[in-house]
């Protein structure tokens, strides 16, 4: 709500404090201020003019020549194109050299040969929003309802010199959605007691209860429902001062009856509704829940099929209004209304929210019912509105109130312990200072020993426990006066746990290996969520996704990496080597949280080495990807336990270029090329991916690391070249070598792979270097020869190897 500085100043003495300063102070002690609005910002030299005479423009059928008194000795001529311009109007005149809305400069000029000394303005032309301009002036110039001093700057006469402090409230402070609440808040801050206009209602009409029979069937949902009748009203525009209050708050003035309900809404924060009494033939009001599919037309002419959760105001039969949300077309106030039935009520916030949400009818009224109402002011607001209608519409008030329900909540009593306040805040505020703050808040209290018993007024329904009061004390005492300290007490040890450490080590390693880290979305499409898995379970689906692109929980990280690749390819970034660490979501049963598994995945596409003056470009291949995986698994300490097998179960990957990575008997992940038909479909170049399940590594038993001295005796290398059937894998050869080379074999390295005509079809040549080391002695030729013989015999016998 935009709090008018001038209006507020009538309720709290602001001592002339600068509006921006006031706003800053409010922000720091209570309510965040989004902005301070100056309606006349950027406008100048706009004055009140009096049209003395008019005559048609000789060369135009829609322009009028006006002689306008601007308070100078001579009137000036202004050409005006508005259809509603007429003699004896008091109007808004932009003088030559003035600035109007949109920073437009007005110049002295000629229009079709006639001199024009400025411009007669519509409200929109001096910055009014279309939505607040009274309908009668929507398509023409604005005309003041009464004579105003000619030549005077127009701003004070239209409320444009006011400053509007835009309160951006949190849900708990809806008590400031009315001027009274705002005045209490600002008053507490400035140590001022707010004062409000007195309501002196002289009811001279019939008893209300004889005019209308009011019943509420759901008292739980409608704790207060009060009505009064104002008869013989004259419908006409409201006085300008009231219109100004409305339009400065974004509300369009309509007529005195509607405007009064809106004015009291702004004043008290209490929504009111006015019915045309004569259109309610039954003279009966029944508040109930709607029937399923009950038809109803709101005053914006929309037709609805209501739901049983909606509250409706009925005439005993059919709905007249959607309670707290919007009135009906059939009972609305019209220019011919003479008797007004006014409603002031409290509706259950949850019920109103449901209705406002499904109908998407969010109004000033519904917002306030949703967030809460000052239950103390329901009756006062009704009286205030009736009084204003008597004053401004010459109506007659009915006597007494027709009560459908009137149950006020208890006023909570909270025991405040000053020692506790200081214990929580870390301050040394005296009990006297706390009492002073309670006084500023206009809360009643009495001492109870060292404690203070505080009665919380109903207008502050956000306060019910001591912690709430501690906040009141703290904010009005001033957060800037809080000391700055650090927690004392027992020392604690901060550290990563094993899982967090593993993740950090893995990420650091991949960075060191040249991969860039990405963060992709966890929510994907169903095919993306389940790709790169064999028999992926049905993915978890959001009940109400925002877009179909982000509707399912991912079960793999690779799909996200491919999306990242596509984004980069679309932006001409072709060399992509990226990784992501994050959770995937494996469904258990529908009612339980899924298993969230920490994974790490990487993708390679484009060049492994860039073309440069030193080297040729080389595209990535399977062994780039696998090398990174091997290096990573070595750093994570599981390389010894890991082996690689051909993987053909993953249909999104190349069946001949994918390795299943096993840690013992557990599936750890995969590394391979994206399936060529997949690449083709997605328009990707050759792309390799890997994914590892870090939970498998976490569960693995790592042997303790015990240091060995560096060997002091010479090592011996022996090379071995073999011709084998092409289906014999490197792993098979290495396993056999390791099994037969004896205990001094330190490692085996393959250093050449060759296939070609020279060695025959379906054959390939593999060359290995065996590295022997005895830590305690120099190895003899004899020992090594014996080991080599055993190795070659095994290779020949078991793998039909030809030793070259």
């Amino acid at each position: 709500m935009k709090i008018s500085y001038q209006w507020l100043n009538q309720m709290v003495d602001l001592h002339g404090i600068d509006p921006q300063k006031l706003a800053d102070q409010v922000s720091v002690t209570g309510i965040e201020v989004a902005s301070v609005i100056a309606p006349d910002a950027g406008l100048k030299k706009i004055v009140i003019g009096h049209i003395l005479s008019t005559k048609p423009h000789p060369d135009s059928d829609h322009l009028t020549l006006c002689q306008v008194d601007l308070g100078d000795s001579e009137p000036v001529q202004i050409v005006c194109g508005a259809p509603n311009v007429a003699e004896d109007q008091y109007v808004i005149v932009a003088l030559p050299g003035s600035r109007i809305a949109g920073n437009v400069k007005i110049k002295r000029g000629k229009m079709r040969g006639e001199a024009s000394e400025g411009m007669i303005c519509a409200l929109q032309e001096i910055g009014f929003s279309e939505s607040v301009v009274p309908k009668e002036f929507a398509n023409g110039i604005y005309v003041f309802p009464q004579p105003e001093p000619v030549g005077a700057a127009v701003f004070p006469y239209l409320g444009m010199d006011d400053r509007l402090i835009d309160f951006d409230i949190t849900p708990n402070r809806a008590d400031t959605l009315g001027m009274h609440g705002a005045a209490y808040e600002v008053g507490a801050m400035l140590h001022e007691k707010p004062r409000f206009p007195e309501v002196n209602l002289h009811a001279t009409g019939l008893p209300t209860e004889r005019l209308i029979d009011v019943q509420v069937t759901e008292p739980e949902l409608v704790p207060q429902y009060l009505m009064k009748v104002v008869s013989n009203v004259t419908i006409k525009p409201s006085p300008l001062w009231l219109q100004i209050r409305l339009w400065n708050n974004g509300i369009r003035p309509i007529n005195n009856v509607v405007d009064v309900t809106n004015f009291v809404l702004l004043e008290y924060g209490q929504p009111l509704h006015a019915f045309d009494y004569d259109k309610i033939a039954s003279k009966k009001i029944l508040v109930r829940q709607a029937h399923q599919n009950e038809p109803f037309t709101t005053l914006d002419e929309q037709e609805w099929q209501l739901r049983p959760t909606d509250l409706v105001i009925t005439d005993g039969q059919k709905p007249l209004a959607l309670a707290g949300v919007m009135g009906g077309l059939d009972s609305e106030i019209t220019p011919s209304t003479t008797n007004v039935l006014l409603e002031s009520a409290v509706f259950n916030g949850t019920a109103i929210r449901k209705t406002a949400q499904w109908t998407n009818l969010h109004s000033e009224a519904s917002t306030r019912f949703e967030k809460g109402i000052n239950q103390d002011d329901v009756a006062h607001a009704l009286d205030r509105a009736v009084q204003l209608l008597c004053d401004l519409a010459e109506g007659t008030a009915s006597e007494g109130v027709a009560v459908g329900n009137q149950v006020l909540p208890a006023e909570p009593q909270v025991l405040l312990d000053p020692a506790r306040v200081n214990h929580v805040l870390g301050t040394e505020i005296s009990a006297a200072a706390m009492r002073a703050i309670l006084t500023d808040l206009q809360f009643d209290y009495q001492d109870q020993g060292a404690k203070i018993l505080v009665t919380i007024p109903r207008r502050r329904w956000d306060i019910s426990i001591e912690a709430d009061l501690i906040e009141e004390i703290a904010r009005l005492y001033g957060y800037d006066k809080l000391p700055s300290t650090l927690p004392t007490g027992v020392q604690t040890r901060g550290a990563y746990n094993q899982r967090q450490q593993l993740i950090r080590t893995a990420k650091r390693n991949l960075l060191a290996q040249g991969l860039d880290e990405v963060i992709s979305y966890s929510l994907l499409t169903a095919p993306q969520a389940t790709a790169f898995a064999a028999q992926a379970p049905e993915p978890i689906k959001l009940a109400w996704p925002m877009t179909q692109d982000h509707a399912y929980l991912r079960e793999n990280l690779v799909s996200g990496l491919i999306l990242d690749l596509q984004y980069n390819l679309a932006h001409k970034q072709n060399d992509v080597q990226i990784f992501e660490q994050g959770n995937v979501f494996i469904p258990q049963d529908a009612e339980r949280q899924p298993r969230e598994v920490p994974m790490i995945a990487a993708l390679w596409s484009g060049a492994a080495t860039d073309a440069s003056w030193l080297q040729k470009e080389r595209p990535v291949d399977f062994y780039d990807a696998k090398g990174v995986v091997e290096n990573l698994l070595a750093v994570l300490g599981v390389a010894e336990q890991v082996h690689y097998e051909t993987e053909t179960d993953l249909t999104d990957l190349h069946p001949g270029r994918t390795a299943r990575i096993m840690l013992g008997t557990e599936k750890l992940g995969f590394v391979g090329e994206v399936h060529p038909s997949w690449q083709h479909e997605m328009g990707l170049p050759a792309t390799y991916v890997m994914q590892l399940d870090l939970s498998v590594i976490l569960a693995a038993e790592l042997p303790a690391l015990v240091a060995q001295p560096a060997a002091k005796y010479p090592a011996v290398d022996r090379d071995l070249a073999l011709i084998l059937d092409q289906h014999v894998t490197n792993a098979a050869v290495v396993t056999l070598i390791q099994a037969n080379a004896g205990k001094y074999l330190h490692n085996v390295q393959i250093f050449d792979v060759f296939a070609g005509d020279k060695i025959g079809h379906h054959k390939r040549s593999l060359a290995y270097r065996l590295h022997f080391q005895d830590p305690n002695a120099t190895l003899t030729d004899e020992e090594i020869n014996r080991a080599m013989t055993k190795v070659t015999t095994a290779l020949v016998e078991q793998l039909q190897a030809q030793v070259r």
């Binding site: 929210r353 957060y479 650090l486 020392q491 901060g494 966890s522 959001l542 970034q573 969230e596």
Partner: protein, 349 residues
């Protein structure tokens, strides 16, 4: 011609030859020719037997002097030639040092994770544990335990991706407050934790909204933890991230799970508080929300709110990174354009 004259002449012509020599081989030849067994000097010395007894030592001495002078000249020339050949080799081997070197690629950590890592390091140093929690949460932990019952207006503040009535994508990292409060053994000392992680809101992605972003929850609970402790802690954080000169401003706010609740502003790091476009001409920038843990949160987690209390805060690494590095579109973090990511290769602190 006397023997002495002969020696003089030998020296003069020898020195000329030495000077002329331009490689080691020639010099060796000269050495052999002049000083060798068949050389002229040996010959002269051989002729000394014909000299008288008093002449012999004089001439002998003179001949030795000539010999050592020639030897020295040869050595000097040899050194000069070595120097020259070294110079030639160095000149030959020189490279263009301005050509770029051979580099191994080094990856760039994602900027959001850099911000998170940096904060984790800070808090670990302050004695905080790092707690992980599920990204798919129950309504119970995400809302009920955080003092946000069904139909609470605060549920409007966080539009939620529900999966079932009871399961949802967590809207904040706050449920880990409840989870750690339930698990912590207060007989072993205070609870000090941070909990970073992904969170989700039912938002349309645009420059300032993302349906996925990050949060770091913080929680300290002990027998006596004050709001002043919260202020001091947040000062440490703000100054660590945004610079030592930052001032803090606390403003009242509202979160269902804290009471009192505050928003925290820092003095603008771009203008120092004078007002600029970064701080929307206010001199202050809102960076995080915090407060004293609501008694209901403690009570529902089985912690006595009379005996124990403390503070909680929530930081947004996405917002921190946007502010600190002038990122204007949050989607850049999740599109992973390498040109964007690579900017943060420099170790950012």
């Amino acid at each position: 011609m006397s023997l002495k004259d002969k020696l003089e002449e030998l020296k003069a012509s020898g020195l000329v030859d030495i000077q002329k020599a331009d490689d080691q081989r020639q010099l060796n030849e000269i050495r052999v020719k002049l000083l060798g067994k068949k050389g002229p000097l040996t010959e002269v010395l051989r002729g000394m037997k014909d000299l008288s007894a008093e002449e012999r030592p004089q001439v002998g001495e003179f001949a030795n002097k000539i010999k050592s002078e020639l030897t020295e000249a040869i050595d000097t020339q040899l050194q000069t030639l070595d120097q020259k050949s070294l110079q030639r080799r160095l000149a030959h081997e020189s490279v263009d040092v301005t050509l770029p070197g051979r580099q191994n690629k080094v990856g760039t950590p994602h900027i959001l994770n850099q911000v998170i890592d940096d904060l984790e390091d800070l808090f670990i140093g302050l004695g905080y544990e790092v707690i992980d929690g599920p990204e798919v949460e129950t309504d119970h932990y995400n809302f009920e335990m955080m003092n946000i019952p069904k139909d609470h207006p605060a549920r409007d503040m966080q539009d939620t991706f529900y999966i079932t009535d009871e399961l949802l994508m967590r809207t904040h990292t706050s449920p880990n407050q409840a989870r750690s409060l339930e698990q912590h053994d207060f007989s072993k000392g205070p609870l000090k934790m941070i909990s970073p992680g992904r969170v989700f809101r039912r938002d349309n992605d645009d420059a300032t909204h993302s349906h996925q972003f990050n949060q770091i929850e913080g929680l300290v609970i002990d027998h006596h933890v004050t709001m002043a402790d919260l202020k001091g802690t947040l000062e440490v954080v703000a100054r660590h991230v945004f610079g030592a000169e930052r001032e803090l401003r606390l403003r009242p706010s509202y979160f269902p799970f804290t009471e009192p609740s505050i928003e925290v502003d820092i003095s603008c790091f771009a203008c120092g508080g004078k007002g600029c476009s970064v701080c929307k001409h206010t001199g202050w920038i809102e960076v995080l929300g915090a407060g004293m843990v609501h008694p209901n949160v403690l009570r529902s987690a089985g912690v006595d709110p009379v005996e124990f209390g403390g503070f909680a805060f929530g930081l947004g690494p996405d917002r921190f990174a946007m502010l600190k590095y002038g990122v204007n579109d949050i989607r850049e973090f999740y599109q992973n354009d390498l040109r964007f990511l690579h900017q943060f290769q420099r170790e950012v602190k």
